[in-house]
C-alpha cells in the first residue's frame, strides 16, 4: 500500500463566546421600563393606550369589540358570511377559530394595559388633582369593559389586576362571579370619578359607566340596579335621540347627541389607522371594498311593521318582480336604514348609485341582503381599504331608553301600563316614523305582552350593533335558534326571487352554546385552563 498517501486530522474546537456588554445597553427608540410612569404626561399617554386597545392591533386583523355586531348574525337575525364564525350558529364552531382567538387577545391587551395604568397611577403627581381623578375613572371604566367582554364570551377565564410576567403562564381560571364583582367595583369608582360630560369626544363620561352597570345588572337580573342605572343615564340630561334614525350612524354626524360611548376612528393616515369594522359590514361596491359579513335574513325584515299597506313605489327594474317590491315596501323605515334589499338604491364607490342586488358580488351575502348600517356611502372611506374613519357606537341613548322600560317591568310587572315606561318606548318609535302607532296604558293586556313588543322593538332598533345576541341569551330566546331556518332572496335566471330553501338551519346545543370556546392555542400552553363544556 505504498501508493497511499494519507493525511490524518484530529481536531477539537471548543467554542464558548459571549458578549455581555451588548446585553446591558439601553434602547433608544422605545421607552425603557424604568423611565416610564413618572410624570402626568406618562399617565395621559398610558391611558390613551388603554383606549387604543379597543381596536384591533392593525387594520389587517379582524375587528374586535365590533365583533359583537357579528355575533348578532348568529341568532335569527340572519347569518354570517365567514364559514368558521358561521359554524357557531350550527353549534360546530371550532376551538381554534381565529376570530375568537383575536378577540381574546384584544380583551387581554386591554385588561393588561388598564392594569398597568392602575398599578402606577397612585404614585404619579398631578398639578390638577381633578384631572387625575378623571383619568382613574376612565381607566376603571375601560378595565370594566374589557372584563365584561371576557366573562360574557368565555364565562370563567384567566383574570388578574397586575401586569403578569412569565410566572403567570400556568394561571387558573377565575370564576365568573369574581370577575363580575371586580367589574362592579371598577364601575362604582368610575362613576364617582368621571365627569358628567366627557372631556373630549370619544372619552368616557359618567354615562358610559352607567350603561355598562345597566348591562351587567340586566345580565344578573338585578332589576333595581338596572332601573337606577338607566334612570341615571336619563337624568344626566345630556343625551337625546337624533331626529332621524339613519343619521345616528353616518360619518357626517359622528359624536351626535345620542352617542354615549363609541370607538373612535379617523381617516387613514401614517400614524393612526382607521377603524376596521366597516369593511365587515360593507359590500364590494362600497369604497371600503367590503367583505359582506353581515347577512340579514327575512326574519329581520318581518319584524318591521308595515305602516303603509299600499305604498307608492317606482318599480324600476323588470328583474325585480312585484311580489318582491310588495314584500319590502311600506315598512318601518328603520328596515331600509339597516339593510340593503332588492329595489333599494345604494351609493357606492365613485358616488355611483346602484340598484340592489345589481351591485358587485351581491352573492357575498348568503341571504342576498346586505347591511346598510355602518357602511359609508360614496367615497367617504377612501383611501385605505380595510380602514375606516367611522366610529363604532358601543352605547347610545335609544338602547338606554329601551333598557329602562324593560328593567322597570322586570322589577315590577305592573309597570307595563306605567306612562313613563310606555313613553320611553314611544320616544324610540316616534323617532323611527311618525306613522308607527304609539302605546298608551291599555295597549297591552299583560306584562308578557308588553315585553314581547319591547323585545321586537329592540330587534328593530338595534340590529347588528352588538347587543341583540346577548339580549337573546338573557331573554331565554336563544334556544329558538335550534332548528331555525335562515331565509333570504336570490337572483335566479336573472330574476330576483325568494329562496326556496334555507341558507342555513341553525342549531343550538344546551350546555354548550351559552359560551364560546377558549382558544385552543392558549390551552396548548396552559393545560390548567379547562375548555368550556361541549368544545373539544
Amino acid at each position: 500500500m505504498k501508493t497511499i498517501r494519507y493525511i490524518f486530522l484530529i481536531f477539537f474546537i471548543w467554542g464558548v463566546t459571549s458578549c455581555e456588554d451588548v446585553l446591558d445597553e439601553q434602547p433608544n427608540d422605545d421607552i425603557a421600563e424604568t423611565t416610564f410612569w413618572i410624570t402626568s404626561t406618562d399617565a395621559e399617554a398610558g391611558l390613551i393606550a388603554c383606549y387604543d386597545a379597543l381596536r384591533p392591533r392593525s387594520n389587517q386583523v379582524p375587528f374586535f369589540w365590533e365583533f359583537w355586531g357579528a355575533f348578532d348574525q348568529l341568532i335569527q337575525i340572519g347569518t354570517i358570511r365567514n364559514g368558521r364564525v358561521r359554524s357557531f350558529s350550527t353549534s360546530t364552531g371550532p376551538a381554534d377559530d381565529i376570530h375568537i382567538e383575536r378577540s381574546w387577545s384584544a380583551y387581554y391587551r386591554g385588561l393588561v394595559r388598564t392594569n398597568d395604568f392602575m398599578v402606577h397611577i397612585d404614585a404619579i403627581p398631578f398639578e390638577n388633582p381633578e384631572r387625575k381623578e378623571n383619568l382613574i375613572g376612565e381607566a376603571r371604566y375601560l378595565r370594566a369593559m374589557y372584563s365584561y367582554g371576557i366573562t360574557m364570551i368565555w364565562k370563567d377565564a384567566p383574570y388578574y389586576l397586575n401586569v403578569p410576567g412569565l410566572e403567570a403562564v400556568d394561571i387558573e381560571k377565575t370564576p365568573q362571579q369574581e370577575i363580575i364583582n371586580q367589574i362592579k367595583e371598577d364601575l362604582a369608582i368610575a362613576i364617582e370619578k368621571l365627569p358628567d360630560t366627557p372631556n373630549d369626544p370619544g372619552r368616557v363620561g359618567k354615562g358610559a359607566a352607567y350603561m355598562l352597570q345597566l348591562k351587567l345588572a340586566l345580565f344578573e337580573e338585578d332589576w333595581d340596579t338596572a332601573v337606577d342605572a338607566a334612570q341615571a343615564v336619563i337624568d344626566l340630561g345630556i343625551y337625546s335621540l337624533q331626529p332621524n334614525y339613519a343619521d345616528i350612524f353616518t360619518l357626517e354626524n359622528e359624536n351626535n347627541s345620542e352617542v354615549i360611548f363609541d370607538i373612535q376612528g379617523i381617516a387613514d393616515n401614517d400614524i393612526e389607522p382607521g377603524n376596521t369594522f366597516e369593511r365587515f359590514y360593507s359590500n364590494r361596491s362600497s369604497s371600503n371594498s367590503g367583505l359582506s359579513w353581515m347577512n340579514p335574513g327575512l326574519w329581520l325584515v318581518d319584524k318591521y311593521e308595515i305602516i303603509d299597506p299600499s305604498p307608492a313605489y317606482t318599480q324600476d327594474d323588470p328583474r325585480i318582480p312585484t311580489e318582491i317590491y310588495d314584500y319590502f315596501e311600506g315598512r318601518d323605515p328603520r328596515m331600509d336604514a339597516n339593510i340593503i334589499r332588492p329595489g333599494a338604491y345604494f351609493v357606492g364607490a365613485g358616488g355611483n348609485e346602484v340598484l340592489y342586488p345589481f351591485i358587485n358580488n351581491y352573492t357575498h351575502s348568503r341571504t342576498g341582503l346586505h347591511a346598510r348600517k355602518y357602511v359609508v356611502t360614496g367615497d367617504g372611506s377612501r383611501p385605505g381599504a380595510g380602514t375606516s374613519p367611522l366610529n363604532f357606537i358601543v352605547f347610545r341613548y335609544a338602547d338606554a331608553l329601551l333598557h329602562y322600560a324593560e328593567a322597570r317591568v322586570m322589577q315590577s310587572p305592573a309597570a307595563f301600563n306605567d306612562q313613563g315606561v310606555l313613553d320611553a318606548v314611544n320616544a324610540v318609535r316616534a323617532r323611527a316614523s311618525d306613522q308607527l302607532p304609539l302605546y298608551s296604558p291599555g295597549t297591552f293586556s299583560s306584562a308578557d305582552e308588553f315585553l314581547d313588543a319591547l323585545y321586537d322593538e329592540r330587534i328593530r332598533e338595534l340590529p347588528m350593533e352588538g347587543w341583540l345576541y346577548w339580549d337573546f341569551k338573557r331573554w331565554g330566546l336563544i334556544e329558538q335558534r335550534n332548528g331555525f331556518d335562515v331565509m333570504g332572496i336570490e337572483l335566479t335566471g336573472g330574476q330576483v326571487q325568494f329562496r326556496s330553501s334555507p341558507v342555513v338551519t341553525q342549531v343550538w346545543a344546551p350546555n354548550k352554546d351559552e359560551y364560546f370556546p377558549l382558544p385552543q392555542a392558549e390551552r396548548d400552553v396552559n393545560p390548567n385552563l379547562g375548555q368550556n363544556p361541549g368544545y373539544q
Binding site: I4, Y6, I7, F8, F11, F12, W14, T17, S18, C19, D24, P27, D30, I31, A32, A45, G46, I48, A49, Y51, D52, A53, R55, G83, R84, S87, T90, P94, A95, W104, S105, Y108, R109, L111, V112, R113, D116, G165, L166, A168, V169, D200, P201, G202, R203, Q264, I266, N269, I271, E272, T363, V504, P519, A521, E522, R523, D524, V525, P527, N528
Partner: protein, 389 residues
Amino acid sequence: MGNQQIDPYPYQATYSVNETYSFGDQVVLGVAQTDIANPDIEWETTTTWNLGADLSFIRGKINLSVDYFNRETDGILVRQEIPDYLGDKTAPFENLAIVVNKGLEIDVMYRDKIGNFSYQIGGNLTIQDNELTKYLSDIPFISNNSGVLTVLQEGQPINALYGFQTTGIYQDEEQIANGPTYGQTPSPGDLIFADINGRDENGDLTGEPDGLITEADRTIIGNQIPKYLIGGNLSFGYKNFDLSVLVQGVFDVDTWTGLSGAFWPLEKEDRGQIHQLWTNRWTPENPSATLPRLVSNSAYSQNELPSSFFVEDNSYVRIRNITLGYNFSPDIIERFAMSSLRIYGSAENFFTFSKFMDKWGWDPEREPQQFDVRIPNVKTFVFGVNVSF
C-alpha cells in the same frame, strides 16, 4: 458561538410609543408595554468537535474525506408561545433547550483522463441525527406557524411536526359509534384520529386512551430535519467540450401538505377551486379513497385539524444544474483578437424525482404552511457566451 438573530433588548420590558388613538379629529399619543422581558437571558453556547480523515489514493485519482461531527447547542434561544392572556404581548427569548446534531459526512472524488476524455465524479453523503436532548420548561412548546404545528420534545428532532395520528377513514355509522367521542361527531367519510392519550382530574396526561379525542391525543407525526443528504458532481471534458451535472437530494424527511387554497376545498364556500385529487375522495361508492368526504368547514371542521393526514414523505433528488460548454481553440479566436471564447447552455432545476411533487404538484423545497400558495423553484435555461480580450 451564539445565535445573533435576536432583539437587542430582551432583558428588560420596553414601552412602545405607537399605541395611538384618536378623539374626534385629534390623534393622541399612546404608550404601552408590548413585550414581556426575560431578565435571565443568556447567549446560546455551541460546543463542536469533529473527528476527520482526508485520504488520497492512486496518486490523487481518488480523494476520500470522512468527518464525524458532534455539535451541541446549549441554551437554545426560542420564543416560547406565550399565552395572549398575558396581555397579547411579544414573547421573550428564553434559553429553553439543548440540541445535539451529530453525524457523518463522507466526501468522495474520483478523477481520471483517457486520451482526450477527462472526467471527474464526486459525491457526498451526510448522515445526521438531530436530537433535542433537554427541554427546560414545564410548559409544552407547541408552535403554531400558520397552521403548521411543531413541538419541542426531548428525544425528538427540533421542531418535529405535531398533531393527531390518523388511522384511516370512517366507513359507516357503526364504526363511528364504536370509536372514541369527538368534539364534533364525525360522519362516514371523515378522518379517524387515534385515541392514544387522555388527562386525569388534575389535567395531567395519563398515556392511556380515554375514549375521547382531545388535544391530549396529539403526538409527533413527522420530522422536518432530513436524516440523509446527498450531493453529486459529475464533470466530463472531451477535446473542447465540457459537461457538468450537479445533483442534490434529501431522504427521510417529512413535510406538511396543509390546507391549501388549491387543495382544501370549501374553506371559503363562495370562491376557490377544487383540486383534481378530490375526484378520489371518499363516497359510499368509493370506500377505499385516500381523501375524506367533501364537506364545508362550517358543517364539519375536524378533518382540517393538524393530523398525520397532512404529513408526507418529502424525499427528493433534484438535478440542480446541467451545463454543456464549448471552448473555441486559440488558433481560431486569435484572429478576432480574443484570448478566450466560450459558449454554453445551462439548465437549472430541470429534473426532479419526488413522489411528493408527482402527487401534489408542489415544489419539495417549499416552506410548508397551512394555506399553501407558493411560487416554486423556477426552471431556467441559460444560453451564454463568454468572451475575453
